[in-house]
Every structure is written in C-alpha cells, then in structure tokens.
Amino acid sequence: MTDAEPIPGAPPPITGEGTFVQLLTPEGERLHHPEYDLELSDDDYRSLFRDLVLVRRIDAEATALQRQGELGLWASLLGQEAAQVGAGRALRPADMAFPTYREHGVAWCRGIDPLTLLGLFRGTTNGGWRPDEHRFALYTIVIGDQCPQAVGYAMGIQLDGAEEAVMVFFGDGASSQGDVNESFIWASVFNAPVVFFCQNNQWAISEPLERQTRIPLYQRANGFGFPGIRVDGNDVLATLAVTTAMMQRAREGGGPSLIEAYTYRMGAHTTSDDPTRYRLGSDVEAWKLRDPIERLRSFLYKQQLVDAAFFAALDEEAEALAVHLRDGVRALPDPSTGSMFDHAYAEPHAQVDADRADFEAYLAGFAEEAR
C-alpha cells in the first residue's frame, strides 16, 4: 500500500481504485496481495456468500416492513454488506464490537437474531440484545460516541491481560466528530488493542465526503501514529483479510489501526430520507457495477463452487428468514408501561419510585372511572 502524500493546497481527487486493497474485482476475478491475503476453503467462500445474501435479505425485509408501517424507521445497509460481513467475520467470539446504527451485517455475524434489531426501529426498545453475551455493544445513534467507549473497553482488555481486541465502527461523516479523533489519540497513547473500522459510504445523509475531508480518510491515521489502510469495502475477501490481520496485530499488542472500507450507501440514509434531493441517480448506477454480492457470485460460478441446489437452498433459507422477520415483528410485544420505570436506575431511586406511584394512581383513577 503506497500512496502519494497529500499535496498542500491542492486536494487530491478522492477515488477508490488504485488506493485500496482488493482481492476480488467487480468482475469476480480473484487477486492476490503481498501483505493481505486469505486462504479460504470452498466452504468459507460459500458461507461468506450466504452471509451476504442473508444480510441483504434482512435489510430488504426491514425496508419493506418500514413501508408497511411496522417499523418507524430503518437505516439500510444496502451496498455495505461486504464491508460489514468481512469485518464481522474477522472477529473472534471473545472480541468486542462497537457498532453505529447501521451495522446489521456485523450484528448478524455476532449471532444476533435480526428480529432483535427490528425492535429498536419499531420502538419497542432502545437496545435489544445483551452486549456482554454477544460481544456486540448496543447501537449508538449519537455520531461518534462509541469510539472513546471502544478505547476504554480496549484498555480494560489490556488491564485483564487478555488476548482480545475491539473493532469500532463509524462512518465518513463521523470522522469529523471530536470524540472520534480523541479516540485515535487515546488508542495511540495507550497502544490499545482497537481497530477503527470506517465505512466510507461517501455520504453523511446529504453531505458528500468532501464536506468531511480533503484527503482520503485512511490517511487520517498518519496524523496519529498508527497505520491506516484503505480496503475495497465492496470486496468481502479483502475486507476480511485486512480486518483479520489488523485484529490479530491488535490482539498481539501491535496497537491500533484505521481501516477505511471504501464503499457506497446504495439506498437512502434512512427510510425518512430522500436522496433525490442531493445526489444523481447515475452515481448510484455506477456503483451498482461494483456490487459486493454479484462479484462473489461470479467468482463462485467461475470456480464452480456452487450449483443450482446451493442457490435454491439459500433462497429457501432467505425466505424462511424473511418469514421469521415478518411474523416476528408483528408479534413483538409492546413494552409494558411500567418498564419505563424499571431500568432508569440499577438501584432504587426515590424520584422514580414516586413517579411510578403517581402514574399508577393516575391509571387506577381511569380504571375506577370505568367501573
């Protein structure tokens, strides 16, 4: 990975090709890389493909459920499946991940039932899963807040002397937040076992990357004293290879690194967004040619690793998953009104107790009236 130094005064064009690690071209051609490579079994390839397909299906289903009014909102990962599955599969069970609100693909790799994710977007919970069990923190909505937390967790790993590492996810927009940059400093100063995984999907809602940086984002690491690597984020193999290497480096005491996964947000920012106001359909079309799933499909075909039965089985699995989500989301119970008060604090708090008592008396008043 070599890259020209930024030219003062003249921002270099921000492009992908030629600056990133790629192991699978958009046409499905398998490349090799001197530093980052992978030895994968046939099963590995198929299983990566399966993850990509299922994750996309989860996303499509959730988008549909939002349209049907079952979810208040959905933040689609369309186009970012490879970045997320590649990174997610580089995690070992004991490693910890800190997501934003879009890491459904990583959640999948952490064994979280996607139905659980829907609860948050339906409004039945602000969390949903047990971060300690899945080693996958709760979604973070305030941009960047998870980064210092990830470093703190990584410092805990150091205190424990454990051979584990943390991967923290954030976006191109998030790279502008103070907290994110502070976390680079902390990770560097404490040599914390943390991998910063930035999905540069080119957009922060309506703002293009140029509003966040004048130089490629992976070069941000140059200012903080650890390696920065750009990977083709639409290439699951490359992403898996680079994240695996950097996580291992972190576990072994090599310290932090920044990975920029160069990708594209194919859909709207969320279901509330209208991207036609700020970007060209032709850009989106161009990125379709780099689709993360199609290139692996081509590769599988060319290598004859799959047959019709494989796809039929996968279709069936995806369909079953969709049914699980459709049925499951409607069956998600609304939280009880009392649950508001249950978890404001871990220990009893007089004010909460008083509020709960008042509210119960108020509700009881209605019940009485009704009688």
Partner: protein, 327 residues
C-alpha cells in the same frame, strides 16, 4: 395578504426574510443545503442565497457553535441548526462556556448575536435521542436566552426577532408541531415582543402554563374542560429565559390555581422554576399548590411508550382536577 403555512414553512420564511434583510446573516448546519434540513426548514435557501451564506458543515456540532462564535466576532449574525435535540450536548461546552459568557467576559465589548435553532420534543415516533427536551439546561445558563414558538405565526416572527437579538438565543422548535398550520400575514409587524408570554385562551378557574408543543395539548384540554364547565386560562410562555412572570402572576392572581405542563422531566424542569416563583409571588392567593405535569424521571422511553411518557389531554385534566380538589 394572508397565506396558510405550517410551522416549518413559517420559520423557513422568517429565515429567508432575515437573509434578505441583513447580509450578515449566515446559516450553518448539517444537511441544511441541498437537502433543506431533515425537516426542510431551510428548503430553497441554499439555492437563493448561495453556499457562502447557507453552509453545510462537517459533522461536528461543537465546531458549528465554535464557528458561529468566531463569525460573530467577525461581525456576522450566524443562525445555527443542530439537527436534533439529542445532538446538542456535543456542543454544550461551546454554548455554556463560550457563547453564554463571551459578552460578560468582554465587559460588554463583544456581542454574540447567535441563534441556535433546535428541533425538540417527542411525539413523532422517533428512535432514541430524537425526542429530548433540553430547555432547562439552557434556561439555567445565565447569558443565554431561550424562546420557543408554539404556532406558525409566532414561528415566523420569533425567528426574525431571535436573529435580530444581540444576545445568543436558543430557538427551540417543537418538531411535532412542524406540520401544524395557520394563516400568516407577512406584511404586518410582530404581534408581540420576543420575550412576552401570552394568554392564548382566557378562563377563570385554573391557569395552565405551557410552551412549545404543549400549548396545543393544553388548548385541547381547555376545550374539553369547558364541556364540563371548567374554564382554563392557557398561557403560552413563548420565552423561557427570561420568563414573563407578569402575565403568569396576573393570571394566577385571578384563578388562584395553576398547572404547569411540559414534556421535559419534571425534576428541575421549567415547572420547578415556575412553581417556585408562583408560590412566592402569589403566596396569599393560591388556593391549591402549583401542580406540574411533565416527563417522568427516566430517560425518554422507546417510542412505543412515548404516549405514556408525554403529557396529554388526560394528564393535564387530571392535574386540573387535583388542583380543583383543593377546597
């Protein structure tokens, strides 16, 4: 010439007028340009005023406020949008340590005519951090002014008054009322000062004090109460710092009873200050303690629960009943 406009549309028009009238007015925020803001409040302004005056900024609220301070020092009159209530805390230091204190620090030499536009409050079924009511944090901060319109007409005039004010103004926009409509006559002049409260419905029995999103709720409660023969006097505070206590105390002197309503958590919410003040100013006149209706002492719940968390017509009327129960 009267038009029907939404609250969001009215603020948009007010912003446009300020941009037209004062070349030093500049807008800063995330997604306020081509997108026109996530609530479209800045719709069309980039096109008409250019990217030097309608600036899509990097995703960094602390610096948005910091830059606004810097622009003020250079003679500009910045209007800043922070996209949602829950993201303003990132900028809290620049607001509290710098924006609020700069004028005092300079012994009056420097002015900070910054308007911070902040959509706030719940009721839109949003995910976490998109339904907060942070007004008390700001109102407790000396050096800031805090105002909030409850309807389109106020939205149109108050945003212009806020921008014209030489002090920093936190301009809270009740996001769930963005789509409320009213007739607006742009040709007149502002119907009230920026820091004046208004009786929006007269009544003799109980004074109900509200602001922003809860004004409509309280007006609905008043209409319902009337069918039971209870006449509520509803006050729209409009300004939270300073408080227009004359209007409030005058009303309570007449009714002898008061209920304060807001979405924010009751503990140390605006209702605390109002209750403290009314209890003192109207000490010999109060026939019942000032009652407060507001959020519980819990983080804002998942949206499926917000209808229970947020004060509604029933909870307002329940408090009215409890007030009236005091003989």
């Amino acid at each position: 010439m009267t038009d029907t406009v939404t609250l969001g549309g009215a603020i948009n028009r007010g912003l446009r007028r300020s941009l037209e009238q004062d070349p030093k007015t500049v807008l800063l925020g995330e997604d306020i340009g081509k997108l026109g803001g996530v609530f479209r409040v800045t719709d069309g302004l980039l096109k008409d005023f250019g990217e030097h005056r309608v600036v899509d900024t990097p995703l960094a609220e602390s610096s948005i406020l910091g830059a606004a301070i810097g622009l003020s020092l250079r003679g500009y009159r910045p209007v800043v949008e922070v996209q949602f209530d829950g993201f303003v805390y990132v900028a809290f230091d620049q607001i509290v340590s710098q924006l609020a204190k700069m004028h005092a620090r300079s012994g009056g030499a420097l002015r900070m005519p910054v308007t911070l536009r902040l959509p706030y409050g719940g009721g839109i079924g949003a995910v976490e951090h998109h339904s907060e009511s942070p007004e008390a944090y700001f109102a407790h901060t000396a050096g800031l002014r805090v105002v909030t319109p409850s309807n389109p007409v106020d939205g149109y005039w108050m945003i212009q008054q806020a921008i014209a004010c030489d002090d920093p103004v936190v301009f809270l926009e009740p996001k769930r009322r963005y789509w409320d409509k009213a007739d607006l006559d742009e040709s007149g002049s502002a119907p009230a000062g920026l820091f004046e409260a208004r009786v929006v419905r007269p009544g003799r029995d109980v004074t109900v004090v509200a602001y922003g999103p809860m004004v409509r709720t309280c007006l609905e409660a008043a209409a319902a109460a009337e069918t039971d023969g209870v006449m509520l006097e509803v006050i729209d505070l409009r300004s939270l710092s300073p408080l227009d206590m004359d209007v409030v105390a005058d009303s309570v002197e007449r009714t002898g009873r008061c209920v304060v309503v807001h979405e924010a958590t009751v503990f140390l919410g605006m209702g605390a200050e109002l209750a403290a003040r009314i209890s003192q100013q109207c000490f010999y006149r109060l026939e019942a303690p000032v009652l407060r209706v507001g959020g519980f002492h819990t983080p804002y719940p998942p949206s499926k629960l917000e209808k229970h968390y947020l004060p509604d017509l029933d909870r307002v009327l329940d408090a009215v009943d409890r007030s009236l129960a005091h003989a």
